[in-house]
Symmetry: C2
Subunit: 210 residues, 2 copies
DNA sequence: CCTACCGATCGGTAGG
DNA sequence: CCTACCGATCGGTAGG
């Protein structure tokens, strides 16, 4: 793309490029309805653009989906992972990681809960680049929890008998369940259930092996 | 429908009526890909029928979806709830309910995990009869867990300080997470994580308030 | 970024 | 249970 094209690109009053407006709107919609039920036509209508005008930014539906995933990843990093990196390694990071994840659901950063929880459901059955990108992002939280649990054990902040994979499974399960509830009637009570479950699970992991 | 039409209906060699073949195939497919991505054309092709021949059994896509939900409900009742009703009320029923649910995932009764877990994700955003039917079935397990926990507390089999809603939330979360894993690479380890999580959660609820 | 299209597939109908 | 259709919408293209 030439610099002439770049410099002539119109800017929105909020300073966001059209491209960013599109992918962030797509991420919001996909967090509610799933990545696979996003259609170019309905997204264009939502943004009051022509289908082909929107399409021209991406070249294929798969590229639109991959760009949407990348936009969602950046928002997840800013809302959850950057605050975690400011905490000290070990148990403090583990607690911040869970607290930030629940806040990210409660805020809500995405209107349908965690983008990657919703997206995983829709792409699970269809092999391809979109599924791979969603799953590698979705699995990041769990792998990071395992690493952080091991760091906390090395610092004697968690009992050595705790199985890091088991603990991570259980923490992810209670937080993902809250993501599914976020658009439902039990939204507020389930956010409290998730926060209390995290607290109970971590308390148990501090005091004894599991 | 006249009895003449009924008696002339051909039977399959396995004794199942075409209607039952259709709705059970639809339930299997929907457990993997979601109720909303079921199309009449792809289901007909899978069953080697014409679209309109299949369609004639239902009259609308919504009726096909509702009939599929009902077929899945019957399979869930036979696999999980009937064994539970044979156990004694209270803690025994609570343990059987969790054990049967995990076996129902592991068997697997549906190739994509629990039909209602997968279906809930796809119908969450679209109000209507289909969403209502899926959610009321999906919520049944949780309500039943709450009732059974209360019965176990009344019999002094679980600590009275346990919050039944909190316990049910946590049990459903760890079992639903295994359902999402059932088509993935962590299938077997996550089934073990779910079973162990159930055991730890129930052990904790037996010995102390949460 | 637009209008005007393309073939394929969607849910559904007519008629048998 | 079938063939032959219908209008609407899908992802995508041509051309500007």
């Amino acid at each position: 793309m030439s610099s002439t094209v770049k410099s002539s690109r119109r800017r929105r009053s909020d300073g966001l490029r059209t491209y960013d407006v599109i992918v962030n709107a797509a991420a919001d919609l996909a967090s509610r309805e799933g990545l696979e039920s996003l259609t170019i036509g309905s997204l264009a209508a939502h943004l009051e653009m022509s289908k082909s005008g929107l399409f021209a930014h991406f070249g294929s539906k798969e590229e639109l989906q991959l760009a949407t995933i990348e936009a969602a990843r950046k928002r997840y990093v800013a809302a959850v992972l950057e605050p975690v990196m400011k905490a000290s390694p070990g148990l403090a990071q583990l607690e911040v990681l869970c607290a930030r994840t629940i806040d990210y659901l409660a805020k809500p950063e995405f209107p349908g809960g965690c983008f990657f929880v919703t997206a995983q459901a829709g792409v699970r059955a269809k092999a391809g680049n979109v599924r791979d990108a969603v799953l590698s992002n979705k699995n990041y939280l769990r792998r990071q929890l395992v690493r952080t649990v091991k760091a906390a054990q090395a610092r004697k902040e968690l009992a050595s008998g705790v199985d890091p994979e088991q603990l991570a499974y259980q923490l992810v399960a209670v937080m993902d369940a809250a993501s599914w509830s976020i658009t439902g009637e039990h939204r507020d009570t389930d956010l409290k259930h998730a926060a209390r479950a995290v607290r109970d699970i971590l308390r148990s992991a501090r005091s004894r092996g599991r």
